[in-house]
């Protein structure tokens, strides 16, 4: 059983398009996260939700909009994609804030 799953695994799109990445966790965790990993493998938090409520919103362009329809899902919608958005995006979840986080397999986004 996959604990944290993301779809799609790969996403190739052109500048200016809008795309979404979906994340689901079956661990029963209360907190979910989105991270961006750049080409140098640096992982940076973008957003965090606790029980569907936004608790962390880093300095991310407002073209990025997370949505949590329920505790088990956290989706990421990106408008007007730019070349600099190319990266690997990871979803993660934890039982509570500050607990160990469990990561999904990642979505490699390539903007051309």
């Amino acid at each position: 059983d996959t604990a944290v799953s993301q779809t799609p695994k790969y996403l190739v799109t052109q500048m200016g398009n809008d795309k979404s990445i979906k994340c689901e966790q079956n661990l029963g965790h209360d907190t979910m996260y989105w991270y961006k990993q750049d080409s140098k493998k640096f992982l940076k938090i973008m957003f965090s939700y606790n029980n569907k409520e936004l608790i962390i919103n880093e300095t991310v362009p407002n073209r990025f909009s997370p949505k949590s329809p329920d505790k088990a899902h956290l989706n990421l919608h990106i408008n007007s994609l730019e070349l600099g958005d190319s990266a690997v995006y990871f979803c993660a979840s934890s039982e509570g804030q500050g607990d160990e986080q469990y990561f999904g397999p990642g979505t490699r986004l390539t903007v051309t």
């Binding site: 493998k41 640096f42 992982l43 940076k44 938090i45 965090s48 500050g98 160990e100 986080q101 990642g106």
Partner: protein, 110 residues
Amino acid sequence: EDQVTQSPEALRLQEGESSSLNCSYTVSGLRGLFWYRQDPGKGPEFLFTLYSAGEEKEKERLKATLTKKESFLHITAPKPEDSATYLCAVHRGATNKLIFGTGTLLAVQP
């Protein structure tokens, strides 16, 4: 400013050659230090959490230790399957977020 620095950036070992990876941090209000392993094309996999100076955790060939300024991940008699990027992250309670280091890429040759 909160900072996490890992060294070395890359490490190549022969199978059986023990070594240590370092994670030094400057953060106020540390609530926990986490070690993760990341294989190519996969998400980080949780290894350990350390909460206070002097604490140690072990798992197979890995042992993590924590002081007030740094953490070490000791690898004893590594095998090729231990090859991966090892990431360290600190949790600062006031912000409730993890701050990651840039990782150490470990290659263990048979």
